[in-house]
Symmetry: C2
Subunit: 336 residues, 2 copies
């Protein structure tokens, strides 16, 4: 049996309240008893039961994290950021991978509720009305990570995906490309999907390249295979000079397909990715991509959530972190 506060009290020959005190307000206990208690704790290797504490404080120092698909390389750093921030403030993370399945999401939210997590980090998926209702019913602090919601007043932290995609496409255009295509992600995804597609469209519009707007192929979340979408894009738009990919993995798949077909990158086609995952530095050629501060997004989100949990006020609802373009070797300037 694990030792309880009672065991410590008995061994130290004090009441349980005294033991409780040396743990929570050591100064309120006379030295002699305090050391006796400390000795007993040490001897018994006593550690307080967080369940009992949680029951009283109504606080568990635990955060529930929801992730749509943990296989996306993107999350590793986001999670590290969350974890580091949480750890620093004494919180643990319960991580749930919903595999893009709404039934699982709801079931996980229930579990979070029952386990009395103090708040929720909801990652990169859209907040649909029924999700919102559920989230709202739980009445728990929540922050959206790498996603946001314009319909609802939910705090969030992410980059400006539309703007970043716009910047990427603009970069291609300013490098002389006029025939541009895109490998997008399903539009129902309101982070890698819709906004990045919208940024693409805005850049086209701004530079009178709207003829390119159908040069797009979309991958579906639950079946996506970068090689397959890449193939279909090549079939669909054989004569483009540049392709913007909504996710680095699509770009890597495209690089592979292009190579198979003997198409040279960047000589024949420029390829641009999005996310700047670690592998992006090792592709052949090295991938030009949009960098987003994944670690910081996770970190900031966790800090923001904890601030809300602890009732500190947090004036900005929707936070946007800066993005950048990392120019490597998969794109080139097109001479006219």
């Amino acid at each position: 049996m694990k030792p309880t506060i009672r065991d410590v009290a008995n061994l130290a020959k004090v009441s349980i309240s005294t033991v409780s005190r040396v743990m929570n307000a050591p100064d309120s206990v006379v030295e002699s008893k305090r050391t006796r208690v400390l000795d007993a704790i040490e001897k018994l290797k006593y550690q307080p039961n967080a369940l009992a504490r949680g029951l009283i404080y109504k606080k568990t120092n635990t955060i529930g994290v929801v992730i749509p698909d943990i296989r996306n390389a993107y999350y590793a750093d986001v999670l590290r950021g969350m974890e580091d921030a949480a750890d620093k403030r004494g919180f643990s993370l319960i991580i749930s991978n919903m595999d893009r399945d709404r039934k699982r999401l709801f079931s996980y939210l229930n579990t979070f509720y029952e386990k009395q997590v103090d708040g929720i980090l909801y990652t990169s998926d859209s907040v649909f009305p029924d999700y919102y209702n559920e989230l709202n019913r739980l009445k728990m602090p929540i922050v959206l990570v790498a996603t946001h919601s314009m319909e609802y007043e939910l705090p969030s932290v992410k980059i400006d995906d539309e703007q970043a995609a716009y910047d990427a496409v603009k970069f291609l255009i300013e490098n002389g490309h006029r025939k541009i295509a895109m490998i997008g992600f399903e539009l129902s995804d309101n982070i890698s999907g819709l906004p990045r597609y919208q940024g693409f469209l805005r850049a086209l519009r701004e530079y009178d390249l709207e003829s390119c707007k159908d040069n797009v192929v979309f991958a579906n979340g639950w079946t996506y295979d970068a090689l397959v979408v890449a193939e279909s894009l090549i079939e669909k738009c054989p004569d483009v000079t540049a392709v913007f990919c909504a996710v680095d993995e699509f770009a890597i798949g495209l690089l592979s397909c292009l190579h198979e077909r003997g198409v040279k990158v960047p000589d024949d086609i420029s390829v641009m990715g999005f996310d700047n995952i670690r592998m992006a530095r090792m592709t052949i050629p090295k991938l030009t991509t949009v960098a987003q501060p994944m670690y910081e997004i996770g970190q900031r989100a966790a800090e923001k959530l904890i601030a809300r949990i602890e009732g500190q006020d947090d004036p900005v609802l929707r936070e946007y972190l800066p993005h950048g373009i990392v120019v490597r070797a998969s794109t080139r300037r097109l001479e006219r």
Copy 2:
């Protein structure tokens, strides 16, 4: 305030014990009251407090997971496997990334203990004596994932890394390679590190190629950069015909360096990886590698742990799952 069992009882005009009964032994309550209670639960959206329950049952349906470095692409699938198996049995996962820092490990183990997790999944790091003592002190069921321990009687599930590495190198040798090198992982790591190196050595020994045994370069966990180790290997052993990499990411880095230097793969050098991460299908050329069933390892480990938690007996202590070699395009047969 969240509704409690008392609120339900009041609304349904029964005692709290009755409410408790409809949740745990519905048949022991007469229909009329049962429906009244059910209605009240529905109306109040009542959900029991898992803390209070855990306090009584001494069970939280929560598993603590320790991971050395979540950035390793390898873990995504292992975690999915764990998660799916855990979810199926009604367990949640608290995931902690120790970033290869033993202080963090100890601190996380304490948290697990205080939060009364029912068991621990300890992933891919060696079990040093002080770790073992700590683990042992907690007296919690534990299973080692993608690692094992010969010194201690701890249950584990993994592939046979030494044998897999041996098979990989043997494959190279049987394809005519005689000058073979290896990019290894620090030997203190007893999964990707030592055993894979030992497998390499055994193959060399068996085929009288011991002259190759110094063609090795090791990456360090906390600073590893695949491109840097790859560079150093090329410097050290410029005239080998094949390189076995202990981790796919090293192979990908090597592919990149080799390409930079104009060395053709597999024409000039064959490259072999280990793990078969998703990206391995998209490299240029596509990577020949050792496949390990990551999802299944995670799944099996979680099942094994839960079985132990629930007191079922589990005859095999150390489980080994099958591995395989996936031959793609980064290796070639060397004609003599």
